[in-house]
């Protein structure tokens, strides 16, 4: 049985079908990539899977066999499904350490203070935010540091599956390289990863399986090398070649 099963989910905003009958499965331990041009429905798909800020209009989402569609976003998070956001996001009024503590205590449901603190500290050090940065306000961090902090708060939850929404956006090339390494290390901890990215090289270097969306529907799915060779995918990304005059 797959860890995450998404069946025929759909979400419409008025007459716009943002996600239209998408199905996919993610096996435990794998890195599953989701690609697609801007407006193809990738982030909306994450929203309806996580229930943040809304669930699907129809379809089913199962986490380890348990149906989660219709549950509140925080309840889904506590079940072990964590997500990040496209923009670097942090709790700016809290320190770096307090940010990670939120992940450990709420999402990770750790009641004991010392254990929560240890888990938060470990998660921060794991993403490269060492002890000297613990007392800094999150709002003072750079874009890359905030992206790392967002990952640390997710790692502190000790989730079973982590949905990453364009982790490479707004980053420089060396930072993207560092992000790839970090995501590999998160996967090595046994956390299943679903990754949205429209930079195909980023996805190719990480994913074991790839799904491409276009206009809210699944365009192609399979091994990354096969998927990017698919003429429909090439067309969605690059458009059709104009016939020679």
């Amino acid at each position: 049985m797959a860890l995450l099963e998404v069946q025929e989910v759909a979400k419409a905003f008025g007459s716009l079908k943002a996600v239209d009958g998408v199905s996919f499965e993610v096996e435990a331990g794998e890195i599953f990539g989701i690609a697609g041009p801007n407006g193809s429905g990738k982030s909306t798909l994450f929203n309806i899977v996580t229930g943040i800020p809304f669930g699907p209009d129809r379809g089913r989402v199962r986490l380890d066999g348990v149906e989660i569609q219709g549950r509140s976003g925080n309840a889904i998070a506590k079940l072990g499904l964590a997500r990040t956001f496209q923009r670097e996001t942090s709790f700016d009024g809290l320190t770096v350490f307090e940010n990670a503590l939120i992940g450990a205590t709420y999402g990770g449901s750790v009641r004991a203070t010392a254990l929560a603190e240890e888990r938060a500290a470990e998660a921060l050090e794991f993403v490269g935010l060492g002890a000297p940065s613990f007392g800094r306000l999150a709002g003072e961090l750079s874009v890359f540091e905030r992206k790392c902090l967002m990952l640390a708060t997710a790692v502190a939850m000790q989730p079973r599956i982590l949905l990453l929404d364009e982790p490479a956006s707004s980053l420089t090339k060396p930072e993207i390289e560092a992000s790839i390494g970090l995501i590999r290390r998160i996967a090595a901890r046994g956390i299943t990863i679903v990754l949205i990215e429209h930079v195909l090289t980023f996805l190719m270097s990480l994913s074991q399986h790839l799904m491409v969306l276009n206009n809210g529907q699944v365009l192609a799915r399979g091994r990354p090398a096969e998927v990017i060779a698919d003429s429909r995918v090439v067309e969605a990304y690059l458009g059709t070649r104009r016939p020679a005059a």
Partner: protein, 340 residues
């Protein structure tokens, strides 16, 4: 093995406790410095306002919930105490605590319609809630006295001590005790995981939910926690003044208390307390200026907010940082030069 980390980037509980005790000792010495009844009355009012303002800071500053019904919780405390002591004949001390509980229940009730709302819509609903409470009180004039209010409400007692003829000595210390208990309660909350959750939800609602925070539960906790001591302050006010008036629901008092929260600097608790002291004492000093008094006070608030958008707390922090910097720079110079 677990290792305690503490609160990096924040003052430790030990440091804060020392500051709190020192502040409490200074305040406790004031009635020995100001022996006249009027000065003590002003200080009692400072403490009551400080409780209301600092509790508002929890929901408005820390929680980011524009609860414009906060003063209604104070008013509920005033009338709950009046009704419980005068009509139900409840012991004043029990009524004091019960009024806090009634205000908390009212806060939980008002949370329900604002759960899914944001910004201006929360203002609208909570303001409507305040008006609704006032109308209910006015309509039940047989019990509440309507526009006339309630008079001869039983005051508090302290064994056989004469609370009326002691130059407001006992009421001063009871008000100080209320402020101390409320401040300790608020600081424990804001330093706890609940407090971090309140701030997280304010900073980014969707991200907070994605990290397992329940919007419903957290918002209810925020408003309920800010209501208990506000209701008790209302009850204390009724016991001290021995009357209840519909004026407590007016915009005038709400504006004064809101000014205290903003002037003090939000998300500090202490800032609201300091501003309560500054604004109340300043208003008393300006008494001879008549109609100019509110104008001068408003100008003072504007000047402070322009210079220090983080309020008096920001001003104090900046002053403290500058002094600490000067001391650090002076320290190497004072050290004798090494030779050889």
């Amino acid at each position: 093995m677990t290792r305690p980390i503490g609160t990096p980037g924040r003052a430790s509980w030990k440091e804060e406790a020392v500051g709190m005790v020192l502040g409490l000792v200074v305040l406790a010495l004031l009635p020995f410095l100001f022996t006249d009844t009027y000065s003590r009355h002003v200080l009692i009012m400072v403490f009551i306002y400080a409780v209301v303002a600092s509790n508002w800071d929890l929901s408005l500053g820390y929680g980011g919930v524009f609860n414009f019904g906060h003063l209604a919780l104070f008013g509920i405390g005033v009338y709950a105490y009046g009704l419980l002591t005068k009509l139900a004949g409840l012991d004043p001390w029990l009524a004091l605590v019960a009024s806090g509980i009634v205000a908390t229940a009212a806060a939980i009730l008002v949370t329900i319609p604002i759960l899914r709302l944001k910004g201006i819509y929360i203002i609208l609903v909570t303001f409507g809630f305040a008006q609704l409470v006032m109308q209910v009180i006015l309509s039940q004039s047989d019990y509440t006295g309507g526009t006339q209010g309630m008079v001869r409400i039983p005051g508090l007692y302290w064994f056989d001590h004469n609370m009326v003829r002691d130059g407001k000595f006992a009421y001063f210390f009871l008000a100080l005790g209320l402020l101390a208990a409320s401040t300790l309660f608020l600081r424990v909350i804001v330093r706890s995981r609940i407090g971090a959750g309140i701030v997280a939800l304010r900073d980014n609602e969707e991200y907070a939910i994605a990290r397992g925070i329940s919007l419903v539960r957290q918002r209810m906790i925020t408003l309920a926690a800010s209501a208990f001591f506000t209701g008790m302050a209302g009850a204390f006010y009724a016991a001290y003044q021995r009357n209840a008036s519909i004026d407590v629901f007016g915009m005038s008092l709400a504006t004064i208390i809101l000014s205290m929260v903003l002037l003090g600097g939000t998300s500090t608790i202490y800032g609201a307390i300091i501003a309560s002291f500054v604004l109340t004492v300043f208003a008393e000093l300006m008494a001879d200026f008549g109609a100019w008094r509110p104008i001068i006070t408003a100008l003072l608030i504007i000047v402070v907010m322009l210079a220090y958008p983080t309020g008096l707390a920001g001003l104090i922090r900046a002053g403290w940082a500058a002094t600490a910097g000067r001391l650090r720079r002076a320290a190497p110079a004072a050290r004798p030069a090494r030779t050889g």
